[in-house]
């Protein structure tokens, strides 16, 4: 029996068969690789936290193979806290909170959002790592700010982005930009939150001011918004716990 390749039946049959075959291949591939991809995500999160809290030389040594080991060395997840929007500790597992998902979720009320605070120990000193999320020019940007034992000085940071312009906005991940944050304070002497300002005029060395990136104004502004919104929640917690 000769097959009429111009017939509608053949065309439909071919289309259906193609969809089934392709669908099966892609679905099984996705399922097969899901565990590995999720594990990559967890390791990446640990790497970002470590990069924020460690000095540059040590942070540069962190890669996917030793992230787990170093994370367990410095960070005890049992000490990690979960805060509500008023900075009050609540029940929950800090590491499992996906702030990226919460940030994108338009139906989730601000009061229902939870904010993780990781507590790390290094050289006998306590460090607080705060994950933050916001948006840049082309897509999401995120980062971790590390606050020192005094609960008000920024001692480290790490930033990441999805698709900022290489050479411009994407420079936020570079060490020179991170260095501009170190030493800034998030609380004044009374313990009140003092927001940051990203500036263009080179006045970055002044308190509460951080130099932006030339040609990356919108991304820099995104970092400013993300840091101020993220930190405002934690500031209340730090204020009530300051010695």
């Amino acid at each position: 029996m000769a097959l009429n390749k111009e017939s509608n039946a053949y065309t439909f049959g071919f289309a259906i068969a193609l969809v089934i075959v392709v669908g099966t291949i892609l679905a099984s591939l996705s399922l097969g690789l899901k565990d590995k991809q999720e594990k990559n995500g967890v390791v990446k999160k640990k790497m970002d936290i470590l990069k924020a809290m460690l000095p540059m030389e040590e942070a540069n040594k962190i890669d996917r193979s030793n992230a787990e080991e170093n994370f367990n060395k410095y960070v005890d997840l049992k000490n990690a806290l979960v805060l509500d929007m008023n900075g009050k500790p609540v029940e929950g597992n800090a590491f499992d909170i996906d702030i990226k998902k919460d940030y994108k979720n338009k139906t989730l009320k601000e009061s229902d959002k939870k904010f993780p605070l990781f507590v790390a120990q290094k050289d006998g000193k306590k460090l607080y790592v705060i994950p933050i999320i916001g948006k840049g020019l082309w897509g999401p940007i995120w980062g971790n700010l590390c606050i020192g034992e005094d609960m008000r000085t920024v001692v480290g940071a790490s930033f990441g982005h999805q698709g900022e312009t290489p050479g411009l906005g994407a420079e936020i991940t570079q060490q020179f930009f991170i260095d501009r944050w170190i030493g800034e304070t998030i609380l004044d002497e009374n313990g009140d939150f003092t927001p940051f300002e990203i500036v263009k005029d080179g006045s970055g060395p002044k308190p509460q001011k951080v130099d932006g990136i030339t040609g990356g104004t919108i991304t820099s502004k995104g970092v400013e918004e993300m840091a101020n919104r993220g930190l405002s929640v934690y500031a209340t917690y730090f204020k009530s716990n300051m010695q």
């Binding site: 289309a15 193609l18 291949i25 990446k44 897509g139 040609g215």
Partner: protein, 229 residues
Amino acid sequence: MSEIAIKSKAPREPLFSKKNKKLITDPLTDNNPVTIQVLGICSALAITVQVSQGVVMGLSVIFVTVMGNLLISLLRNVIPSKIRIIVQLVVAASLVIIVNEVLKAYLPDISEKLSVFVGLIITNCIIMGRFEAFAMANKPWPSVLDGFGNGLGYAGLLVLVAIFRELFGSGTLGGIPIFGNSLPGEESGLYAMGYANNNMMILPPMALVIVGCIIWVQRSRNKSLQESH
């Protein structure tokens, strides 16, 4: 069926005959998909800011053109002509998804860098162009060579444009500083003498200008490419 039987009786030509070699070398020079056919321009603008991105993007496109041409060529006699474009699209899209998923699982750092651009391979006109113009009418082996040649032609141009843009836009090549340290306050090398990076180079329009210059050079060297008017 008789048609296929006759074809298989024809004398076998060597794997790398003159004709087959031309399939690879042509797209590299006088039939370059980007400079001559002006296909795939959109992605050439987007990801040529850094050489490393261009290299990985080029490799991904080579994979998709080779595998896609092979699959389409194998299926060419059973694809119903009414829906052939859709079938080609499905093949291209599936291959791109496979590349993306595998990169995410095994090379997460590179996948992060490329982010959305891997998905954008689907929109690369070179892929659909080669499926429709070559693989639909040729045997699998020449199709594979044609896919490889065109992918390589695309990748080569991408890297060439990226070298110009990264060198003059950021003063680095593959992330390594060439002209010295450009950070304000700690300039060294050329920057200490007052040299400044050209920020225009980082913006997409400059890629068009560079591609234009490459087309200009290529056409003035090869008179047969010039239109007669």
